[in-house]
């Protein structure tokens, strides 16, 4: 992974944290669904980060 890509993805994680805050201000059901999707996207981003091995089945879960 290039340093630039890592910067982009870290910035995206920060933005997504803000989105969770926005979602929580919405209705309960919509908020729940939105947060699920945001968390999902966060995990997809984290898989791309250094030392985060997206592939191995023996990868330790968090």
């Amino acid at each position: 992974m290039t340093a630039t890509l890592e910067v982009y993805l870290r910035q995206a994680l920060t933005r997504l944290t803000r989105l969770v805050g926005t979602a929580k201000a919405g209705g309960a059901r919509e908020c729940d669904r939105e947060i699920k999707n945001v968390r999902l996207l966060e995990e997809l981003i984290k898989e791309q980060m250094p030392y985060e091995d997206a592939g191995s089945s023996t990868r330790a879960p968090r």
Binding site: K36, L40, E43, Q48, P61
Partner: protein, 497 residues
């Protein structure tokens, strides 16, 4: 019933999932559907798998593309992931089996699993905490990985997560794969004989799984001198330079270099023809399991051959700490022994059947750690402590557990007691320190911690009751040693009464 199986790992993991998908299919009724989700870049590894009705793909690059620009758009990426989830949700899966064991996969399952959907494998609780619904996934969470002592092959673990029994026929090659005509021509011209080739895969998915260039050169030269059969090199385009460096001629012969020219279906076709294949821990070893080709697996410390090693009967494993420790002469001798159908080096580990445990020399077969795993998870007797340090560790664990139980009893009487809660927080630090000092006891500690993770969110009183029950269970195991074996100075196996 409509079933979705998630396999979001790499090529090798997908091939190791094939037998499980076939077993699931075998158990399905007419009209049932079996879908599988893989990463788009590994989709080719589902080609030829006729047990499934539909392949879905996760295109990470496409979803994250809006984030990788000078004007990143998180909302756009979020819309893409929403569309991906909605597309899968619309299928109305009644059962979801997650064989991926990753945080992302657990969140995806949680996003897909509506009420009433049967879930196997990692998912999430409503509060976002990891949920491990089945024992096989809990075993995976706690005890599987190259730095662990697990000896259950991942294909069997996948089967246990899916709740299916494997049979030998679940490992079968696709019937219709033929070699590309251009490769067929090259191969035929080069072979000019009807002898079945020996296939050599030079690379692996990670550099620490790869045998060194110089050693491969010696091995290939040795093969060309000692083996009549054609020697064919296979691998990805990234391994072309390596192939050029090692295909060196010897005795006027040269290895046939197909590196970077084969599709996965070609590897199946080649593997089916080969009398022997050789390589590290990578997709070809799992393709060989499906074609039934004996495989000589060169295995190093960063990989557990117990978990991801060869499955085809007649295969052998040469397991060494690092590539430097494995002499090229030994590889040549073992390959020649396999071709001649005779016994080889005493250190070699043998695969006798896909469904039976590996046959390993005594010094490799004997493992106190594995005995602990069998005791905790498989109802076998607990082993005696293997060292004085282990004895001390068991006593310290027992003391820490007794202290934790005292604090839990206080919390039963005075909910929220801060001192008790503070001491309980320290309990984790203590048992983790013991696990670091006595790796064998790490197995017990990881079992305990995983079972606590599995408790999940619930009413405070119920959580307290179940936590106490778990600590008591740990105490029962420890008492086998503290109340019994130590005083008698016995190192015999001990059994939970």
């Amino acid at each position: 019933m409509k079933t979705l199986v998630l396999q979001l790992a790499r090529l090798g993991d997908i091939y190791q999932t094939w037998p499980v998908l076939r077993a699931i299919r075998r158990g399905q009724a007419a009209g049932d559907e079996l879908h599988v989700l893989v990463r788009s870049r590994f989709r080719d590894a589902t080609e030829g798998l006729d047990a499934i009705d539909r392949v879905w793909t996760l295109d990470t690059k496409e979803i994250l593309a809006p984030l990788v620009s000078d004007h990143p758009d998180a909302g756009d990426a979020l819309d893409k992931i929403k569309a991906f989830v909605e597309q899968l949700s619309a299928q109305g899966f009644e059962r979801i089996i997650n064989l991926s064991f990753s945080p992302f996969s657990s969140r995806l399952v949680y996003a897909l699993a509506e009420a009433g959907v049967e879930v196997r494998g990692y998912t999430r609780h409503e509060d976002g905490f990891l949920q491990i619904p089945d024992d096989a996934s809990a075993y995976f969470f706690a005890q599987v990985g190259p730095d662990r002592v697990n000896r259950v092959h991942v294909t069997e673990l996948f089967a246990q997560v899916a709740g299916v029994e494997l049979v030998d026929e679940d490992w079968t090659r696709p019937a219709h794969f033929e070699l590309q005509p251009v490769l067929e021509t090259d191969l035929f011209t080069a072979l000019n004989s009807a002898r079945r080739p020996v296939l050599v895969h030079l690379g692996a998915s990670q550099s620490d799984k790869v045998y060194g260039t110089h050693k491969w050169l010696q091995v290939i030269s040795g093969f060309l001198e000692r083996i009549d059969a054609p020697v064919v090199l296979i691998g990805s385009a990234d391994e072309r330079e390596l192939a050029k460096a090692v295909r060196a001629s010897a005795s006027g012969r040269e290895a046939i270099d197909l590196v970077g020219r084969t599709r996965l279906r070609d590897v199946f076709a080649l593997m089916s023809r080969a009398q022997l294949a050789i390589g590290g821990d990578s997709a070809p070893v799992h393709i060989a399991a499906l074609t039934g080709t004996p495989f000589l697996n060169l295995s190093f410390r960063t990989v557990s051959f117990w978990e991801t090693g060869p499955k085809s009967p007649g295969s052998r494993i040469l397991a060494f700490e690092t590539a430097d420790d494995l002499p090229s002469d030994l590889v040549i001798q073992e390959a020649v022994a396999m071709l001649n159908g005779v016994g080889g080096d005493a250190r070699a580990i043998h695969v006798t059947s896909r469904l039976e445990p590996l046959s390993a020399p005594r010094e490799i077969a004997t493992s106190v750690g594995w005995e602990w795993l069998q005791a905790i998870y498989m109802g076998q007797p607990f082993p005696g402590p293997d060292s004085e340090l282990c004895v001390q560790g068991l006593f310290r664990l027992s003391e820490a557990n007794a202290l934790a139980l005292e604090q839990l009893a206080i919390l039963e009487r005075r909910s929220g007691d801060r001192v008790a809660l503070s001491i309980l927080d320290r309990f984790d630090e203590i048992i983790e320190a013991i696990a670091r000092m006595v790796p064998t006891l790490g197995i017990l500690v990881r079992w305990f911690q995983t079972e606590r993770v599995r408790l999940g969110p619930m009413a405070d009183q119920e959580l307290l009751t179940r936590t106490i029950a778990l600590h008591r269970r740990l105490g029962e195991i420890l008492a086998l040693y503290t109340a019994h074996a130590f005083q008698e100075k016995s190192h015999d196996d001990v059994r939970l009464g």
